[in-house]
């Protein structure tokens, strides 16, 4: 039986008195992928930040690899790759220097070679020495995805990974998600509209102010014409 990598049990999040997440119950096992769809401002980014342990839920319980995030030893964060709305890249460092730095702090051997390999994977070899501040938004997004995935994490949480990407970029991210699933990683990502990735069985969830609900097969069938295919 596949390991349950992420388990959210009735997680709620409030900013002051304002509820953002409402009793979210959700689980993802190794080798599974799920997409959380919701309109702008519904709390998708907050959900990702909460699921990765960056912000504490106001109520409910979150388990990552069977443990609460506060009980995870630092080294276990190597198993989690996160893409947030902010790219988490240093604007005054080059694309190569950013990936080398993150490879070093993730304890990856031969960080320079690893960074070069990832630059190749996301098609940024030519921009390797460009400072991040000089990259286009799409190139920055590719680099941010490389940063999130460079340690081959077992749990990948991506906040709108297809945002700002052209068709080639979107296909590249879809391919990286397929590769991650092939090595049994669990992938959760958000999107503002439903989508499908060819060859990937995606769990489709809708985030609303009332909570997170799965799309049942009937609704999914009705949505078929709206789905963006990658």
């Amino acid at each position: 039986m596949a390991e349950i990598v992420l388990q959210a049990q009735r997680i709620s999040k409030f900013f002051g008195d304002r509820p953002v997440l409402n009793a979210i119950t959700f689980a993802v096992s190794a080798g599974e992928a799920a997409v959380v769809v919701g309109r702008n401002g519904v709390g998708k980014s907050t959900l990702i930040k909460t699921l990765c342990g960056l912000t504490r839920p106001s109520a409910g319980r979150l388990l990552l690899f069977g443990r609460e995030p506060t009980d995870l030893a630092g080294v276990q964060f190597r198993r989690i790759g996160v893409l947030l709305h902010q790219t988490l890249l240093y604007p005054n460092l080059s694309a190569r220097e950013n990936l080398e730095f993150y490879s070093e702090i993730f304890g990856i051997e031969q960080p320079a070679a690893h960074a070069r390999r990832w630059l190749g994977q996301v098609g940024l070899e030519r921009a390797a020495e460009e400072p991040v501040s000089a990259l286009s938004r799409g190139m920055e997004q590719r680099l941010a995805i490389a940063r999130a995935m460079l340690a081959d994490p077992d749990l990948i949480l991506l906040d709108e990974p297809f945002a700002a990407l052209d068709a080639d970029g979107a296909a590249l991210v879809a391919a990286l998600i397929r590769q991650a699933l092939a090595r049994d990683a669990a992938v959760v990502f958000t999107a503002h509209a439903p989508l499908e990735i060819a060859g990937v069985e995606l769990g489709l969830f809708k985030l609303e102010s009332t909570g997170l609900t799965p799309f049942d097969e009937g609704r999914r069938g009705a949505l078929r014409s709206l789905l963006r295919r990658l």
């Binding site: 630092g74 996160v82 902010q86 890249l89 240093y90 460092l93 070093e104 702090i105």
Partner: protein
């Protein structure tokens, strides 16, 4: 135990070498404070050592606050602190790296201030200045520890950089008194042995705030 310390330190120094923002701001502010002090009190007179020591510590406290704020607030503003928190690096190691960066920035400003101090107050390059080094080092460590911890707290609110000195100065007062008294004594020609009480106070302050920062950083850096 300190895995990730070296890469974070190297990255911060590389960014500083590239932009020079902190160095220029710290050195300019320190020298400006010193000039104002010299114009206000005059460089000569019987109380030269006390005024020089006072000027030195006022420059240190403001430059130090700015330096620590730069090291941490810039990371927070760019959002990159989240990248560090989502890495296997222990929060205490991030604190240690940021503290070291702050110390380095402060040492740069301190060096510039010392040179200006010698020129403005007609001090001699000699034993008195050398005896100032341990006092200054202890003061910088305590201030860097305090500023790094409080910059983490103040960074959570708007205009946190402006709030930082308001939080730092009252808490740093015991070390400020000890540092300026000890500095005035050695600049007046007394040996370090004559200021051991002040040095012990500075050391105790360092132990208290380095330990507090090391233990508390993890709890204050995480988002609500």
């Amino acid at each position: 135990m300190l895995e990730g310390f070296g890469p974070i330190l190297r990255k911060d120094l590389r960014l500083e070498l590239r932009s020079g923002e902190s160095t220029v701001a710290l050195v300019s502010l320190s020298v400006l404070i010193l000039v104002v002090m010299v114009l206000a009190f005059g460089p000569g007179g019987a109380r030269r050592a006390e005024i020089a020591a006072g000027a030195l510590w006022i420059a240190l406290i403001f430059a130090g606050t700015l330096g620590a704020a730069q090291a941490l607030l810039a990371e927070r503003e760019s959002g990159c602190i989240r990248g560090l928190l989502l890495s296997p690096v222990e929060p205490a190691t991030i604190y240690a790296a940021k503290l070291t960066v702050s110390m380095i920035f402060m040492a740069e400003a301190g060096f510039a201030v010392l040179i200006m101090l010698v020129l403005f107050f007609n001090l001699e390059f000699g034993g008195g200045l050398l005896r100032l080094v341990p006092i200054f080092a202890l003061g910088m460590l305590g201030l860097a520890a305090l500023c790094t911890l409080l910059a983490t707290v103040s960074g959570r609110v708007r205009a946190g950089a402006m709030l930082l000195p308001v939080l730092v100065v009252p808490l740093f007062t015991p070390a400020l008194i000890a540092g300026s008294k000890a500095s005035a004594a050695v600049l007046a020609g007394q040996p370090l042995g004559a200021v051991t009480t002040w040095l012990k106070l500075l050391f105790a302050f360092d132990v208290l705030f380095v330990t507090a920062g090391y233990l508390l950083f993890e709890h204050v850096i995480l988002e609500d």
